[in-house]
Symmetry: C2
Subunit: 437 residues, 2 copies
């Protein structure tokens, strides 16, 4: 199974931004109270619904967030740059082949940016079984439409059976045309494709010049920017579609996201009784009070605060582009941080490291750092020396000194950076083996 | 001149709270771009409009904020507890007498919680001169009403002259009665009184049993809780009122405050073109984006975030009472702080100390502290030893160790507290002379 983790943007600002895509936002409450992202839901849901080897296909900027959310054991196929879905799927297929899969093995490619429920993951596994038994080269998942939306692509099947040959594709039709297609049994194109590994490798040879992982990787920046639908599906004659009629929602805007949240508000919030149709997500630890509001979405996050009429929120992208893109929250492979304060003289961050996570051994040329541990136990490696640290311990890290922190237990600390420059590129990495000498 | 700095409450939450009253909020932009509070405006305005010795009458909780805003040289008459305006004015009068004033000296008592402009301060000085020349014992300032509001007290003068004897008082009448009074020339009671010092001291002897500062101070908790209007004005026969027709507005609610701000938004804010009648005050350093909002007030402050329909905001007090009253921003005599993060394991604060300010020498029993200087130059006194500190310097302050910081230049630092308890009462003070031994 290939999970396509693409896209980035500001349609869900201030939760999503250029480096933190919507699939990573932890908004969905599991029964045990833990909040999961769509990425975490997809990974868990697919594994709970059946056996599957999962590869996440993504850009370099998302690798840290994926490891943070899914663990270090996850297979990631990292695109050197973004080239739309066909090159991404081809590269992942070549990597799967490299790991020993055979040309006859069934592969399902699935985007992770739609809101779905448990039945969807069962349907993915069923799709694989149906595709396995089908004579068609390519099997798509079509979603039963709930409205004649002009946002989606439509697949017109030849019959109304659970699995049917495809008659035609219709990308983003007018609402009138969409309604007509729906009357004729059309389905939304979910972007889910099932195929044998050899099928896509053959397409890669034909369209990209190679099916070899290293060759594709090396040539990646020069590959055509082309979608799987355009490159493959719409040209394939041996193609069928499987009908899915459970929950599947694009949550590309605040308006649609608010619809699928389990509660009117997440985070410390109080709404008076005159509030109607108000949704609040508050990620800071100060309370939000809403009074007399109607049809409003409020989102409070480290990067900023959005207050919008729900209808207006669909136009967010344009507005948010104007705002600074510097993100104050990030998920790294070693944990998460939130910028608490920043000016030209210093940056203060709260860092949370789960047990067993560790930073890479590194130094900075232009800034001094200071760590104050507020909870948990960790091990500092500092200029070759190791030291256990706990609550109240303070570690001064002058510029030039090599350092890293490893969490023995869940660890929280405050980091204060002072100096001349605080960019992420002021980091030099070293191997810990050097330190041991 | 006595400036009455009273009141506290949550009508302007999250800017005002139980310890930080509305007169201290820095919302009014001076021509040079500096933001002033109503307290700062009143102090500057009165001094620019003429000669005056100023005493601020206030409760103990406000002394730090007053010194921070008006400087250490200001005369403050501190009430041990709140007992309404008559005991407050009597105590301040007794203190003024103690400092050498004579019974014949003219005193003006003026609250600082109304929004006014320059002409008001000139009118205060003029009131003093008119009262000086008047045979009346007590001279009030009456404000020309702009609407038949039921929020105010009304003074009905005997004539429509600039200065007139008072016919009657009418506290918070119905709008119909208010309109009738206004047709007969009634004025709003601004709470400003002019009198000779001896007059109020005589009232203090009669009503409070003494006119001696020490005696009043000692007995303060047992004094009656009674307003100057009720105790004195409404009973006085020899009383007149001076007409003022400039700007004078109660800004007790967000709705009225928004009316007097110089701009639609203060702080980093972006509103789309569909926003109508939206006011934003943003005191955090993350941006606010408003889209498609109408008649809305947004206030973002260290204590919380308010988003309210303007009409609904008048009911704020009740809602805000439910929210935690713990304040994350405070003004102390040595500077200001903002809590950046707080949980049971630690508190992180950004501290700003203007040049020449210093903390008192103190220690904590239950917490360790760590200071990281991000800008400026200061002197740390630490366990008797002095040390100059600047950007990047880190000072570890284990529990029990005496310490203080003094700013040589404007100083900014991050303080991280770790330990078991972070209450303001965990402080023991010492004299710096002990340290020098």
């Amino acid at each position: 199974m290939i999970l396509l983790s693409g896209g980035s943007g500001k349609r869900l600002w201030p939760l999503s931004n250029d480096v933190y895509s919507k699939q990573f936002i932890r908004l969905f409450r599991r029964e045990d109270g833990v909040y999961e992202s769509m990425m975490m839901r997809a990974y868990r849901g697919i594994r709970e619904a059946g056996d599957a080897q999962i590869t996440v296909a993504t850009g370099a900027g998302q690798v840290s967030a994926i490891r943070s959310q899914l663990g270090d054991g996850i297979n990631i196929c990292t695109e050197p740059c973004r080239r739309d879905t066909f090159p991404a799927i081809a590269l992942a297929a070549a990597q799967i082949k490299r790991r020993g899969a055979g040309d006859g093995d069934m592969v399902i490619s699935c985007p992770v940016d739609a809101y779905v429920e448990e039945d969807y993951y069962r349907a993915l596994h069923a799709l694989g079984r149906l595709a396995q038994d089908s004579p068609a080269q390519l099997t798509l998942m079509g979603v039963q439409p709930t409205e004649p939306s002009e946002k989606y692509g439509y697949i017109l099947p030849k019959s109304r059976d659970e699995i049917s040959a495809v008659a035609s594709f219709h990308e983003k039709p007018s609402p009138e045309d969409a309604a007509a297609y729906i009357r004729r049994g059309a389905l939304w194109n979910s972007g889910v494709f099932a195929f044998r590994l050899g099928y896509v490798l053959e397409k890669a040879r034909a369209l990209l010049g190679s099916d070899d992982y290293d060759a594709l990787l090396a040539a990646y920046a020069n590959l055509p920017q082309i979608s799987f639908d355009y490159a493959v599906s719409e040209k394939e004659k041996s193609i069928c579609v499987v009908r899915f009629s459970g929950t599947w929602k694009d949550i590309g805007t605040w308006n649609s996201l608010a619809d699928v949240l389990h509660a009117q508000s997440i985070g410390p919030t109080q709404l008076d009784t005159n509030c109607q149709n108000v949704s609040v997500i508050n990620q800071l630890d100060i309370p939000v009070l809403g009074m007399g509001l109607k049809d409003t979405v409020i989102c409070v996050a480290p990067d900023g605060i959005l207050v919008s009429d729900k209808e207006s929120s669909v136009r967010l992208k344009t507005q948010a582009e104007i705002l600074s893109s510097e993100s104050r929250y990030a998920e790294r492979s070693w944990g998460t941080y939130q910028v608490l304060a920043a000016d030209r003289n210093g940056v203060t961050r709260r860092i949370i490291m789960p047990a067993e996570k560790r930073m890479r051994y590194h130094s900075h040329a232009m800034r001094d750092e200071c760590w104050v541990i507020t909870s948990g136990v960790g091990e500092v490696l500092f200029d070759g020396k190791r030291r256990l640290v706990g609550p109240g311990d303070m570690i001064r890290l002058p510029r030039g000194v090599k350092h890293r922190l490893a969490a023995k237990e869940d660890l929280t600390l405050i980091e204060v950076q002072t100096g001349d420059y605080f960019g992420a590129d002021d980091r030099q990495f070293f191997s810990e083996e050097d330190a041991a000498e």
